[in-house]
Symmetry: C2
Subunit: 296 residues, 2 copies
């Protein structure tokens, strides 16, 4: 089933998330990622909150963000957020760990009050860190992520705010994104790098009993990772956590909820070629994707 542009108009009468109706200027929820990875998050958003409209933007023309500097990630992310605002979006999800780690705070604290005080930008780190401790029995948590996310220290810092006793071990897995993007998932080369990084993680934290995939590409490697994990270790992807957190946010913020349009549509935009985006995107989204090119 294609999710794209399907007009599920009866869902506009679903009032579960419409405490006081829909405003005339309601617009889609913006979902941003540097590339395709955020589509694994969008997939879960559509599953949990199918009634909303979503605009997805992949900054593929400048991806990957993983190893870029703070300044560069901030500059690119802000440009993309402004693009969403120009499309009318009131709520933008940075479905990208690197952007959430390196750009979100500056945008929330410095830019939003100035350029769009009535709009909101949310990330994927807080929705994850406020619940991840509940997946561990002994408080020993493993984080698998890109170099950029690991070096930012965002996950240990944020997890300790919610679970001060947790012991958090991180491992950067810079080969995993190329493995996914080049569809080398089912090769011995993928096995080598997955085993190498898991071995390094458990060398640092031998008692880790909950492992978080803190990169939106990694869910495509989930089966492989599970194969190489001890059986009693829980493996957690972010998409579902982020979707549940957004549902909760919209329940608690009816004024924002009313500004989200509800025709059950998804539209896709990319800063690079649409053909590549559609081919790759379909793999990540799990349903056909048809994108439009934009220049920022």
């Amino acid at each position: 089933m294609s999710h794209q542009l399907s007009d599920i108009s009866h869902q506009t009468s679903d009032t579960r998330y419409q405490p006081s109706g829909v405003r005339n200027d309601a617009a889609p929820i913006g979902v941003f990622d540097s590339g395709y990875g955020g589509l694994t998050v969008l997939k879960e958003l559509v599953k949990v909150l199918p009634q909303y409209d979503y605009l997805y933007l992949g900054d593929n023309g400048r991806a990957p963000y993983g190893n870029r500097s703070f300044e560069t990630v901030y500059e690119y992310t802000l440009q993309c957020v402004q693009w969403f605002f120009e499309q009318g979006c009131s709520l933008v999800i940075l479905a990208c760990n690197t952007a959430s780690a390196k750009a979100l705070r500056s945008i929330q604290q410095n830019d939003l009050p100035r350029i769009a005080p009535d709009k909101r930008v949310l990330g994927v780190i807080r929705p994850t860190t406020e619940v991840i401790g509940e997946y561990s029995e002994n408080g020993e948590i493993g984080i698998l992520a890109t170099k950029g996310t690991v070096n930012s220290g965002s996950y240990p810092i944020e997890i300790h705010k919610f679970f001060p006793e947790a012991r958090v071990y991180q491992e950067a897995c810079p080969m995993w994104v190329p493995i996914v993007e080049n569809n080398e998932i089912d090769t011995p080369g993928a096995d080598f790098f997955i085993k190498k990084n898991l071995h390094a993680l458990f060398h640092k934290g031998p008692k880790v009993d909950a492992v978080l995939l803190a990169c939106t590409h990694y869910p495509l490697l989930k089966d492989k990772i599970q194969e190489h994990l001890p059986i009693d270790v829980k493996l957690v992807s972010q998409g579902e956590l982020v979707a549940n957190s957004l549902a909760d946010y919209l329940r608690r913020h009816p004024e924002m909820e009313q500004r989200c349009s509800k025709n059950g549509r998804q539209q896709f935009f990319t800063t690079d070629a649409t053909e590549d985006f559609d081919n790759h995107g379909t793999l990540f989204f799990g349903a056909p994707v048809s994108s439009t090119h934009i220049v920022l």
Copy 2:
């Protein structure tokens, strides 16, 4: 020995490449790459033509270009070329196969006549293709490159202009750049992907007896590749070919040669963080690198 900013002023009196002196407005030769790879070319340029000044620009903030669309590569490359022109450079080398394949012709034919008719932009593909046939005994040539270079078809097309009888087989090796950039060169994971791509190349062209590394990152894998190649197959990197070709070009174009300054200096610029550039760059350049950040 650091090549950077070393003032080898006696070299300004070296007249080998100064048929009629140096002009007052002489400026460095520009060397461009999307990232670090072009430093393997610059290394050879400095070896063969040490008397010239070079400005190196890595567009690391938007690297890698390998899998990006024609339009995106063209747009980014033109911006970088214009930056070199603003620095006074009269001669710019695109030391990047993707940019040479996807952007060079448009820049030479459409942009230069309009924006800078007296300046020149040269690539790395022609200097390579006009000699590669001489490395093969039987005319069976293998090309290893990124997806973007392979899909552009530039190497087979250009090689056939100089060696119409040659049979050219290509293989895209999209995991090799991540392997180099993440310093996974000496791992079984690297072996797996190198063997996989070489096997695929020789499956297409079993009689190939000359293999060209048509990506500026690949020289760092040369020893590994050699290990997995039949002993009678010649393995050719581009850097030396490009340096010899530039020496020849400058001999044949004294009017351009006079516009190249000669203090034996190299300066490095990047569109991303300088610390990362300097760490990685030193590996590729084979000597210490100290860069300056620029915004395009």
